[in-house]
Protein backbone atom coordinates (compact mmCIF):
# COMPACT_ATOMS: atom_id res chain seq x y z
CA UNK A 1 0.00 0.00 0.00
CA UNK A 2 1.25 3.48 -0.83
CA UNK A 3 2.07 5.86 1.98
CA UNK A 4 -0.67 8.25 2.96
CA UNK A 5 0.29 11.90 2.58
CA UNK A 6 -1.34 14.21 5.08
CA UNK A 7 -1.11 17.87 5.99
CA UNK A 8 -1.79 18.83 9.60
CA UNK A 9 -2.91 22.43 10.18
CA UNK A 10 -2.85 23.76 13.74
CA UNK A 11 -1.56 26.90 15.39
CA UNK A 12 0.08 24.97 18.21
CA UNK A 13 3.68 24.03 17.30
CA UNK A 14 3.95 21.40 20.05
CA UNK A 15 0.92 19.56 18.75
CA UNK A 16 2.31 19.61 15.22
CA UNK A 17 5.64 18.20 16.35
CA UNK A 18 3.97 15.46 18.37
CA UNK A 19 1.63 14.34 15.64
CA UNK A 20 4.40 14.38 13.06
CA UNK A 21 6.46 12.06 15.25
CA UNK A 22 3.62 9.71 16.09
CA UNK A 23 2.08 9.36 12.63
CA UNK A 24 5.48 9.25 10.92
CA UNK A 25 5.99 5.82 12.44
CA UNK A 26 2.67 4.57 11.04
CA UNK A 27 3.22 4.70 7.29
CA UNK A 28 1.98 8.28 7.05
CA UNK A 29 3.90 11.17 5.47
CA UNK A 30 3.15 14.20 7.59
CA UNK A 31 3.57 17.81 6.45
CA UNK A 32 2.56 20.62 8.77
CA UNK A 33 1.22 24.15 8.50
CA UNK A 34 0.75 26.66 11.31
CA UNK A 35 -2.14 28.61 9.78
CA UNK A 36 -4.88 28.50 7.16
CA UNK A 37 -2.92 30.67 4.74
CA UNK A 38 0.15 28.50 5.14
CA UNK A 39 -1.94 25.40 4.49
CA UNK A 40 -3.35 26.81 1.24
CA UNK A 41 0.15 27.71 0.06
CA UNK A 42 1.43 24.25 0.98
CA UNK A 43 -1.40 22.53 -0.92
CA UNK A 44 -0.36 24.34 -4.10
CA UNK A 45 3.11 22.83 -3.88
CA UNK A 46 2.97 19.41 -2.23
CA UNK A 47 0.68 16.51 -3.12
CA UNK A 48 -1.62 15.67 -0.21
CA UNK A 49 -4.45 13.13 0.25
CA UNK A 50 -5.89 14.22 3.57
CA UNK A 51 -5.82 17.50 5.50
CA UNK A 52 -6.28 17.50 9.28
CA UNK A 53 -7.62 20.95 10.05
CA UNK A 54 -8.04 22.64 13.42
CA UNK A 55 -11.27 24.63 13.47
CA UNK A 56 -9.94 27.29 15.82
CA UNK A 57 -7.07 29.28 14.41
CA UNK A 58 -6.18 32.95 14.35
CA UNK A 59 -6.22 34.57 10.91
CA UNK A 60 -7.99 32.48 8.31
CA UNK A 61 -10.30 30.32 10.45
CA UNK A 62 -10.88 26.61 10.05
CA UNK A 63 -14.19 26.86 8.20
CA UNK A 64 -12.87 29.53 5.82
CA UNK A 65 -9.82 27.40 5.12
CA UNK A 66 -12.07 24.39 4.50
CA UNK A 67 -14.17 26.35 2.01
CA UNK A 68 -11.04 27.45 0.14
CA UNK A 69 -9.65 23.91 0.07
CA UNK A 70 -12.95 22.54 -1.26
CA UNK A 71 -12.90 25.19 -3.96
CA UNK A 72 -9.30 24.80 -5.06
CA UNK A 73 -8.45 21.17 -4.32
CA UNK A 74 -11.49 18.98 -4.76
CA UNK A 75 -9.50 15.77 -4.67
CA UNK A 76 -8.29 16.40 -1.11
CA UNK A 77 -10.33 15.15 1.87
CA UNK A 78 -10.51 17.19 5.05
CA UNK A 79 -10.90 15.99 8.65
CA UNK A 80 -11.85 18.73 11.11
CA UNK A 81 -10.22 18.83 14.53
CA UNK A 82 -12.90 19.94 16.95
CA UNK A 83 -12.89 20.75 20.65
CA UNK A 84 -15.80 20.39 23.06
CA UNK A 85 -16.22 24.16 22.87
CA UNK A 86 -16.32 24.26 19.07
CA UNK A 87 -18.99 21.72 18.17
CA UNK A 88 -20.79 24.29 16.03
CA UNK A 89 -17.71 24.53 13.82
CA UNK A 90 -17.71 20.76 13.52
CA UNK A 91 -21.31 20.88 12.33
CA UNK A 92 -20.46 23.63 9.84
CA UNK A 93 -17.44 21.65 8.69
CA UNK A 94 -19.50 18.55 7.89
CA UNK A 95 -22.15 20.59 6.07
CA UNK A 96 -19.46 22.34 4.06
CA UNK A 97 -18.14 19.05 2.79
CA UNK A 98 -15.50 17.94 5.29
CA UNK A 99 -15.00 14.18 5.15
CA UNK A 100 -15.18 13.68 8.91
CA UNK A 101 -14.37 15.31 12.21
CA UNK A 102 -12.51 14.17 15.29
CA UNK A 103 -13.03 15.41 18.80
CA UNK A 104 -10.03 16.47 20.89
CA UNK A 105 -8.62 14.73 22.85
CA UNK A 106 -8.40 11.69 20.60
CA UNK A 107 -6.52 8.44 20.52
CA UNK A 108 -3.97 8.06 17.77
CA UNK A 109 -5.67 4.82 16.66
CA UNK A 110 -8.98 6.59 16.21
CA UNK A 111 -7.34 9.36 14.19
CA UNK A 112 -5.43 6.86 12.09
CA UNK A 113 -8.59 4.95 11.25
CA UNK A 114 -10.35 8.09 10.11
CA UNK A 115 -7.30 9.12 8.09
CA UNK A 116 -7.28 5.71 6.38
CA UNK A 117 -10.98 5.98 5.49
CA UNK A 118 -10.53 9.52 4.19
CA UNK A 119 -7.48 8.42 2.17
CA UNK A 120 -9.44 5.53 0.64
CA UNK A 121 -12.23 7.97 -0.28
CA UNK A 122 -9.74 10.38 -1.87
CA UNK A 123 -8.17 7.59 -3.94
CA UNK A 124 -11.59 6.27 -5.07
CA UNK A 125 -12.63 9.78 -6.03
CA UNK A 126 -9.46 10.28 -8.05
CA UNK A 127 -9.94 6.97 -9.86
CA UNK A 128 -13.59 7.72 -10.60
CA UNK A 129 -12.58 10.99 -12.15
CA UNK A 130 -9.90 9.32 -14.28
CA UNK A 131 -12.43 6.83 -15.66
CA UNK A 132 -15.07 9.39 -16.58
Amino acid sequence: MSRIRILVVDDEPDFLKLIQRRLGKRNVDVSVAASGQEALQALDVIPVDVVILDVRMPGLGGIETLKEIRKRHQEVEVIMLTGHGSMQSGIEGISHGAYDYILKPFSIEDLLERIRDAHEHAVLKRNARKVS
Partner: protein, 301 residues
Protein backbone atom coordinates in the same frame (compact mmCIF):
# COMPACT_ATOMS: atom_id res chain seq x y z
CA UNK B 1 -61.89 12.90 -27.58
CA UNK B 2 -60.35 9.94 -29.33
CA UNK B 3 -59.93 7.95 -26.15
CA UNK B 4 -63.60 8.19 -25.19
CA UNK B 5 -64.72 7.25 -28.70
CA UNK B 6 -62.36 4.27 -28.80
CA UNK B 7 -63.46 3.04 -25.41
CA UNK B 8 -67.15 3.32 -26.36
CA UNK B 9 -66.57 1.40 -29.58
CA UNK B 10 -64.69 -1.38 -27.82
CA UNK B 11 -67.49 -1.67 -25.29
CA UNK B 12 -70.05 -1.79 -28.09
CA UNK B 13 -68.01 -4.36 -29.98
CA UNK B 14 -67.94 -6.61 -26.93
CA UNK B 15 -71.63 -7.37 -27.51
CA UNK B 16 -71.86 -6.92 -31.27
CA UNK B 17 -68.97 -9.25 -32.09
CA UNK B 18 -70.41 -12.49 -30.58
CA UNK B 19 -73.92 -11.51 -31.68
CA UNK B 20 -72.85 -11.03 -35.29
CA UNK B 21 -71.04 -14.36 -35.14
CA UNK B 22 -74.23 -16.11 -34.08
CA UNK B 23 -76.27 -14.39 -36.81
CA UNK B 24 -73.73 -15.37 -39.47
CA UNK B 25 -73.75 -18.96 -38.23
CA UNK B 26 -77.53 -19.15 -38.45
CA UNK B 27 -77.58 -17.52 -41.90
CA UNK B 28 -74.86 -19.84 -43.24
CA UNK B 29 -76.69 -22.94 -41.98
CA UNK B 30 -80.03 -21.78 -43.47
CA UNK B 31 -78.91 -20.39 -46.87
CA UNK B 32 -75.40 -21.73 -47.56
CA UNK B 33 -74.48 -19.78 -50.72
CA UNK B 34 -75.70 -16.24 -49.93
CA UNK B 35 -74.72 -16.97 -46.35
CA UNK B 36 -71.04 -17.47 -47.26
CA UNK B 37 -71.06 -14.24 -49.27
CA UNK B 38 -72.73 -12.39 -46.40
CA UNK B 39 -70.18 -13.86 -44.01
CA UNK B 40 -67.33 -12.60 -46.19
CA UNK B 41 -68.84 -9.14 -46.31
CA UNK B 42 -69.33 -9.18 -42.55
CA UNK B 43 -65.74 -10.27 -41.96
CA UNK B 44 -64.48 -7.48 -44.24
CA UNK B 45 -66.63 -4.97 -42.35
CA UNK B 46 -65.34 -6.17 -39.02
CA UNK B 47 -61.75 -6.05 -40.21
CA UNK B 48 -62.26 -2.53 -41.51
CA UNK B 49 -63.81 -1.28 -38.34
CA UNK B 50 -61.12 -2.95 -36.17
CA UNK B 51 -58.52 -1.18 -38.29
CA UNK B 52 -60.08 2.21 -37.69
CA UNK B 53 -60.53 1.48 -33.97
CA UNK B 54 -56.86 0.73 -33.60
CA UNK B 55 -56.11 3.97 -35.43
CA UNK B 56 -58.31 5.86 -32.97
CA UNK B 57 -56.59 4.22 -30.05
CA UNK B 58 -53.26 5.20 -31.54
CA UNK B 59 -54.37 8.83 -31.79
CA UNK B 60 -55.72 8.67 -28.28
CA UNK B 61 -52.43 7.46 -26.83
CA UNK B 62 -50.56 10.17 -28.76
CA UNK B 63 -52.91 12.76 -27.26
CA UNK B 64 -52.27 11.36 -23.80
CA UNK B 65 -48.53 11.56 -24.24
CA UNK B 66 -48.87 15.16 -25.34
CA UNK B 67 -51.01 16.02 -22.32
CA UNK B 68 -48.50 14.34 -20.02
CA UNK B 69 -45.68 16.31 -21.55
CA UNK B 70 -47.65 19.54 -21.12
CA UNK B 71 -48.28 18.66 -17.51
CA UNK B 72 -44.61 17.97 -16.86
CA UNK B 73 -43.68 21.24 -18.54
CA UNK B 74 -46.12 23.24 -16.45
CA UNK B 75 -44.96 21.47 -13.29
CA UNK B 76 -41.38 22.32 -14.19
CA UNK B 77 -42.34 25.95 -14.68
CA UNK B 78 -44.17 25.95 -11.37
CA UNK B 79 -41.13 24.51 -9.58
CA UNK B 80 -38.86 27.03 -11.30
CA UNK B 81 -41.19 29.82 -10.20
CA UNK B 82 -41.12 28.62 -6.62
CA UNK B 83 -37.34 28.27 -6.66
CA UNK B 84 -36.91 31.76 -8.11
CA UNK B 85 -39.16 33.23 -5.44
CA UNK B 86 -37.17 31.36 -2.82
CA UNK B 87 -33.81 32.62 -4.10
CA UNK B 88 -35.09 36.16 -4.49
CA UNK B 89 -36.46 36.15 -0.97
CA UNK B 90 -33.31 34.70 0.55
CA UNK B 91 -31.04 37.19 -1.21
CA UNK B 92 -33.34 40.20 -0.84
CA UNK B 93 -33.24 40.23 2.95
CA UNK B 94 -29.47 40.65 3.23
CA UNK B 95 -29.45 43.02 0.24
CA UNK B 96 -31.94 45.24 2.02
CA UNK B 97 -29.79 45.36 5.13
CA UNK B 98 -26.68 46.13 3.07
CA UNK B 99 -28.50 48.99 1.35
CA UNK B 100 -29.70 50.49 4.63
CA UNK B 101 -26.22 50.34 6.12
CA UNK B 102 -24.65 51.87 3.01
CA UNK B 103 -27.10 54.78 3.13
CA UNK B 104 -26.37 55.28 6.79
CA UNK B 105 -22.64 55.38 6.03
CA UNK B 106 -23.16 57.91 3.26
CA UNK B 107 -25.13 60.13 5.62
CA UNK B 108 -22.40 59.88 8.23
CA UNK B 109 -19.78 60.86 5.68
CA UNK B 110 -21.59 64.05 4.68
CA UNK B 111 -20.33 65.98 7.69
CA UNK B 112 -17.04 66.04 9.53
CA UNK B 113 -16.77 62.84 11.44
CA UNK B 114 -17.09 62.74 15.18
CA UNK B 115 -15.73 59.78 17.06
CA UNK B 116 -19.22 58.39 17.49
CA UNK B 117 -19.85 58.47 13.75
CA UNK B 118 -16.58 56.73 13.02
CA UNK B 119 -17.56 53.87 15.27
CA UNK B 120 -21.01 53.78 13.67
CA UNK B 121 -19.41 53.48 10.25
CA UNK B 122 -17.25 50.68 11.52
CA UNK B 123 -20.32 48.90 12.80
CA UNK B 124 -22.03 49.35 9.44
CA UNK B 125 -19.05 47.81 7.68
CA UNK B 126 -19.16 44.82 10.02
CA UNK B 127 -22.85 44.30 9.32
CA UNK B 128 -22.28 44.58 5.57
CA UNK B 129 -19.51 42.02 5.70
CA UNK B 130 -21.74 39.69 7.68
CA UNK B 131 -24.59 40.02 5.20
CA UNK B 132 -22.31 39.51 2.21
CA UNK B 133 -21.13 36.33 3.86
CA UNK B 134 -24.74 35.26 4.30
CA UNK B 135 -25.34 35.81 0.58
CA UNK B 136 -22.24 33.89 -0.39
CA UNK B 137 -23.37 31.05 1.86
CA UNK B 138 -26.63 30.89 -0.07
CA UNK B 139 -24.90 30.87 -3.45
CA UNK B 140 -22.49 28.21 -2.18
CA UNK B 141 -25.36 26.00 -1.15
CA UNK B 142 -27.09 26.60 -4.47
CA UNK B 143 -23.95 25.67 -6.36
CA UNK B 144 -23.62 22.56 -4.24
CA UNK B 145 -27.21 21.75 -5.08
CA UNK B 146 -26.70 22.24 -8.79
CA UNK B 147 -23.39 20.44 -9.04
CA UNK B 148 -24.42 17.13 -7.62
CA UNK B 149 -21.32 15.56 -6.21
CA UNK B 150 -21.01 12.12 -7.67
CA UNK B 151 -21.01 9.68 -4.79
CA UNK B 152 -17.91 7.57 -4.17
CA UNK B 153 -18.81 4.46 -2.26
CA UNK B 154 -16.78 2.76 0.44
CA UNK B 155 -17.62 0.45 3.32
CA UNK B 156 -19.17 2.21 6.29
CA UNK B 157 -20.86 1.41 9.56
CA UNK B 158 -24.12 3.34 9.81
CA UNK B 159 -24.34 3.05 13.60
CA UNK B 160 -20.96 4.66 13.90
CA UNK B 161 -21.80 7.48 11.50
CA UNK B 162 -24.90 8.21 13.56
CA UNK B 163 -23.04 8.15 16.88
CA UNK B 164 -20.48 10.62 15.50
CA UNK B 165 -23.20 13.01 14.32
CA UNK B 166 -25.09 12.65 17.61
CA UNK B 167 -21.95 13.70 19.48
CA UNK B 168 -21.87 16.91 17.42
CA UNK B 169 -25.40 17.95 18.36
CA UNK B 170 -25.14 16.73 21.97
CA UNK B 171 -24.06 20.09 23.31
CA UNK B 172 -27.17 21.74 21.94
CA UNK B 173 -29.48 18.97 23.10
CA UNK B 174 -28.05 19.17 26.62
CA UNK B 175 -28.65 22.92 26.70
CA UNK B 176 -32.24 22.52 25.49
CA UNK B 177 -33.11 19.60 27.80
CA UNK B 178 -33.57 17.22 24.94
CA UNK B 179 -32.98 13.55 25.61
CA UNK B 180 -31.68 11.25 22.93
CA UNK B 181 -32.73 7.61 22.98
CA UNK B 182 -30.59 5.33 20.84
CA UNK B 183 -32.03 2.00 19.76
CA UNK B 184 -29.29 0.55 17.57
CA UNK B 185 -29.38 -2.82 15.90
CA UNK B 186 -26.36 -4.92 16.95
CA UNK B 187 -26.11 -6.93 13.76
CA UNK B 188 -26.42 -4.11 11.27
CA UNK B 189 -24.45 -5.08 8.15
CA UNK B 190 -21.80 -2.68 6.86
CA UNK B 191 -23.01 -0.73 3.86
CA UNK B 192 -21.38 0.45 0.64
CA UNK B 193 -22.05 4.16 0.63
CA UNK B 194 -20.52 7.63 0.56
CA UNK B 195 -19.77 8.41 4.24
CA UNK B 196 -19.33 12.23 4.09
CA UNK B 197 -22.58 12.64 2.15
CA UNK B 198 -24.44 10.37 4.57
CA UNK B 199 -22.98 12.31 7.52
CA UNK B 200 -24.39 15.50 6.03
CA UNK B 201 -27.85 13.98 5.74
CA UNK B 202 -27.90 12.63 9.31
CA UNK B 203 -26.66 15.94 10.64
CA UNK B 204 -29.39 17.79 8.73
CA UNK B 205 -32.11 15.53 10.07
CA UNK B 206 -30.77 15.71 13.63
CA UNK B 207 -30.52 19.50 13.55
CA UNK B 208 -34.10 19.68 12.26
CA UNK B 209 -35.26 17.43 15.09
CA UNK B 210 -33.40 19.56 17.66
CA UNK B 211 -34.93 22.73 16.25
CA UNK B 212 -38.39 21.18 16.32
CA UNK B 213 -37.99 20.55 20.06
CA UNK B 214 -37.73 24.08 21.33
CA UNK B 215 -39.21 23.38 24.73
CA UNK B 216 -37.34 20.13 25.27
CA UNK B 217 -38.43 16.60 24.44
CA UNK B 218 -37.14 13.32 23.11
CA UNK B 219 -35.33 12.22 19.99
CA UNK B 220 -35.39 8.51 19.20
CA UNK B 221 -32.68 7.30 16.86
CA UNK B 222 -33.26 3.76 15.66
CA UNK B 223 -31.32 1.60 13.22
CA UNK B 224 -32.44 -1.66 11.71
CA UNK B 225 -32.10 -3.79 8.63
CA UNK B 226 -34.86 -5.16 6.46
CA UNK B 227 -35.18 -6.45 2.87
CA UNK B 228 -31.65 -5.57 1.83
CA UNK B 229 -31.99 -2.03 3.12
CA UNK B 230 -30.38 -0.50 6.18
CA UNK B 231 -32.74 1.98 7.85
CA UNK B 232 -32.09 4.85 10.23
CA UNK B 233 -35.12 6.37 11.85
CA UNK B 234 -35.01 9.78 13.54
CA UNK B 235 -38.16 10.51 15.52
CA UNK B 236 -38.86 13.61 17.58
CA UNK B 237 -41.69 14.46 19.94
CA UNK B 238 -42.05 17.98 18.53
CA UNK B 239 -45.12 19.74 17.14
CA UNK B 240 -45.23 17.59 14.00
CA UNK B 241 -45.87 18.50 10.39
CA UNK B 242 -49.27 19.00 8.75
CA UNK B 243 -50.30 16.98 5.70
CA UNK B 244 -50.07 20.08 3.49
CA UNK B 245 -46.54 20.79 4.73
CA UNK B 246 -45.42 17.17 4.28
CA UNK B 247 -46.01 17.55 0.54
CA UNK B 248 -43.71 20.54 0.42
CA UNK B 249 -40.96 20.03 2.99
CA UNK B 250 -38.67 18.37 0.44
CA UNK B 251 -39.10 21.24 -2.05
CA UNK B 252 -36.07 23.49 -2.39
CA UNK B 253 -36.40 26.78 -0.46
CA UNK B 254 -39.48 25.62 1.41
CA UNK B 255 -38.89 26.51 5.06
CA UNK B 256 -40.97 26.98 8.17
CA UNK B 257 -38.15 28.74 9.99
CA UNK B 258 -37.95 32.51 10.40
CA UNK B 259 -36.01 34.35 7.64
CA UNK B 260 -32.26 34.08 7.96
CA UNK B 261 -32.33 30.91 10.04
CA UNK B 262 -32.84 28.31 7.38
CA UNK B 263 -32.34 28.42 3.64
CA UNK B 264 -34.93 25.71 3.06
CA UNK B 265 -32.34 23.62 1.26
CA UNK B 266 -31.49 21.10 3.98
CA UNK B 267 -34.16 18.51 3.27
CA UNK B 268 -34.12 18.86 -0.50
CA UNK B 269 -30.35 18.39 -0.54
CA UNK B 270 -30.66 15.43 1.84
CA UNK B 271 -33.29 13.71 -0.28
CA UNK B 272 -31.19 14.24 -3.35
CA UNK B 273 -28.11 12.76 -1.70
CA UNK B 274 -30.01 9.71 -0.49
CA UNK B 275 -31.58 9.21 -3.94
CA UNK B 276 -28.09 9.33 -5.43
CA UNK B 277 -27.03 6.66 -2.98
CA UNK B 278 -29.91 4.50 -4.22
CA UNK B 279 -32.11 4.98 -1.18
CA UNK B 280 -35.03 7.09 -0.06
CA UNK B 281 -36.31 9.17 2.84
CA UNK B 282 -39.77 8.47 4.25
CA UNK B 283 -41.63 11.00 6.36
CA UNK B 284 -44.52 10.27 8.68
CA UNK B 285 -46.01 12.95 10.86
CA UNK B 286 -49.20 14.32 12.32
CA UNK B 287 -49.66 17.70 13.97
CA UNK B 288 -49.05 17.33 17.69
CA UNK B 289 -47.54 13.87 17.35
CA UNK B 290 -43.97 14.60 16.32
CA UNK B 291 -42.24 13.65 13.08
CA UNK B 292 -40.48 10.49 11.91
CA UNK B 293 -37.86 10.62 9.17
CA UNK B 294 -36.63 7.25 7.91
CA UNK B 295 -33.52 7.04 5.76
CA UNK B 296 -33.23 3.79 3.83
CA UNK B 297 -30.00 2.82 2.10
CA UNK B 298 -29.36 -0.35 0.10
CA UNK B 299 -26.63 -2.55 1.62
CA UNK B 300 -24.92 -3.18 -1.72
CA UNK B 301 -24.55 -0.45 -4.24
Amino acid sequence: MNLVRARRTVLFGQYVYPASFLIILVVVVKWPLPGVVAAFVAILCLWGSLLSFSRWIGHASDERMELKEQLIQSQKLLALGEISTGIAHEINNPLNIIMQEAELMRMNFQQDLTEEEVSEIQESLDVILQQVERCSDITHKLLDFARSRRPVTQTADMNRLLVDMLTLVERETDAKHIQIVKVFSNDLPKIKTDPPLLRQVFLNLLINAVQALDGGGLIFVTTQCNDGMVCAEIRDTGPGISAAQIERVFDPFYTTKPPGEGTGLGLSVSLRIINQLGGDILLRSEPGKGAVFTVRIPIER
